[in-house]
Amino acid sequence: MGVWRALLWLAFKSQFRLSLMKHRYFVKKERQWELAIYIFLLIALVPVSLFIVVFYQGLYLGFKWTGQPEAILWLAAGVGQLAVLLFGFFHVTGRLYFAEDSEGLLSLPVTPSQVFASRMFGIWAAEMPLFLLLTLPGFLVYGWLEGVGIDFYIKLVPIMMILPVVPLGVTAVLVMLFMRVTNFRRYREMIHALGPFILIMTMFGFQIVMNGGILEHMDEESTAAWLKDSSSILEMLKNAFPFAIWATDMITTSFIDGIMSWVLFLVGSLLAAIFAATLAKWLYYPGLVSNDRQYGKRGKALLKKIREPHSPLRALFGKEWRLLIRTPAFAMQVVLGVMIPPMAILLPMWVKGEWKQNLAELQALPFFHDLLIWSGVGAVVFLTGMNGVFLSSVSREGKLFSYSKTLPVSAGVQVLAKWLLALAFTGLITVMIGTLQFFMGAGGDVLFWTFLLGLTAGALTTGIGIGLDLLFPRLDWNTPQEVFRGGGKGLWMMLVQSLLGVVFGGIVWLLKMTGLPELLLNSLILILLLGADYGIFQGVKRLAERRYPDIEM
């Protein structure tokens, strides 16, 4: 038991960085203000939880009306399991294979199954808050509104703890198989990056199926008719998430009546865990230990044609670009941040065939021209904010930040390279939005103004984001995924973006009221944005010169 206890405790501490935080906040007494941010984030969860409770309450009333109030439990459990399945994919991949301490346990006299199980325990603990946030309110709403007894809440504890086991087990098996199969090639990292892409594409495929079939019934018939339909989401839940159904049976019936569900639930979960751990015996270590060392002739060939010298700025930009694109977790964050929102909005419209009608209605609006420009600019700024390149500019360097500090290049130039990289993505987003506008019938002037205003507004957002990351960098990450998590920077950025949106929206509206010609109005806004960009750039540059020497690790 000693080995197990040691492994589980290590996994738990490593997962939540307990030792690091204890050392930082209580031994070295540094960055203690971060504790206030954590408390703030916890408080911020309260309104989110309330929103979820209200959402479940509405659903409960709907289900009650159809005579199936317990369906809220199936749904809540299914949603939680689905979330663990999807988010778990990235989490499991990161913790099992890309954590810096991944290979640290290989030499110890412990079995791969033990290492795997202990790591999965840490992942389970880390996934629990999200799972509880999504699932527990559904159960509590049911409990309160149905007036259930104390036994409901007692049974709730083991059910909540065990429900994530199966989706985590399934995810772990998929990840281990994937990593084992892709571990033989030179471009291992790139192949690994395809995994989440495939997952995202599957999600979109699922969305197309849902939109093309099941969900179209919603707007035609009543919710009740849809829910009772054999192809309803409840039927789907029964098939896809039997554990959600068993959990519902366990908690809504007496122990004796629900004994079969208890047996199926517990044995099924146990089997999933044992199966994954057993598979880990053969798959985990071979997938973890890289086998991609190459001794080719390309190196010698490269020596005959060494590339031309570049300026330090261009060299830094190239380095930033390569590190971003070649780190799957970073590349995914960037690409998904740009791809998901437009696809999530446009795909259902396209599948349902409503886009022609929607477009015709939009084109009929008297302010269609203005709408295209300003919604385009808004979309550029929104998607720039979503991709996270700028908000992780400094943090992405991790421990190599100290390396960058030894370079004979000013902090201002180093930060400028990061800014240009973020702007390159804003440029790509602008092109993407411009393409959409073109298909919506936009003329050259719309594309011209959207490009200029979008790029300058995006530059402002990225500049502020880089400043935030300079103030609160996260360099001590263990897995690349951690760069994008926590710290509240995303929250601050949303607040800043909202504020800027209100300010610039107000300015545009005021100028519109004065009846200025479009050319003059747009030019004024452009000059204003360029001025703000310049101001922010100078500010961020100075901040970088001041912060770089101070950031120690």
């Binding site: 060392r293 080719g296 010298p309």
Partner: protein, 243 residues
Amino acid sequence: MIWIGNVSKRYAKTGPLAVDGLQLTVPKGEIFGFLGPNGAGKTTTIKMITGILKPDEGDIEVDGVSISRNPIEAKKRIGYVPDGADPFSRLTGMEYLTFMADVYRVSRDERNKRIPELAERFEMQDVLGDLISSYSRGMKQKISVIAALIHSPPVWILDEPMVGLDPKSSSILKDEMRRYSENGKTVFFSTHVLEVAERLCDRLAVLKEGRLVAEGKLEELRQGTGGQMNDEQTLENLFLELT
């Protein structure tokens, strides 16, 4: 030349001094060994020389340029090989070298001459097209050494450079360090391998708990003129007694 003037560094506000009033001068053309037990402050000192850490007190000059007042100019004069060198692992060896050549503004002719020369000397020609993440520890150390020398700096600083190197690579590195000092440049390195320090260094310094406890040529240390030693001893005995 490296000049360290009464430098102190503390990590936590109320914690102990990691480096305590260090005063040291390393002239041109010298190989200087920096010794001390774990946690003595060697890496902290090196990080202050290279501009990674800011001294709380004192100043450091590299080739006559202050690292705190004129950091960019000072850094141009340094080639640095960090402890457990693990450079940008998602770049290929060649991408890393050309990146370093760019930021140190190495001309086309110089890079065309130096990269093949150093790659051949350290037997890295065949793997320059591969990602650094696929390199062994020794190969990572060697690519870091090549990158540090690409601009032919007047001061070469190495933190535990022999770790991870096979005997042949270690020998090549030692030859390179000698060749470097013979050309009038400064080599400053920390090590735990006393045999290397004994054979290679012109002068040595021993650090303990952030303070300099001995400094001088090995003979001087042995004869008691370089610090607190008073008998003829091996460096190992000296080290054990001092620390």
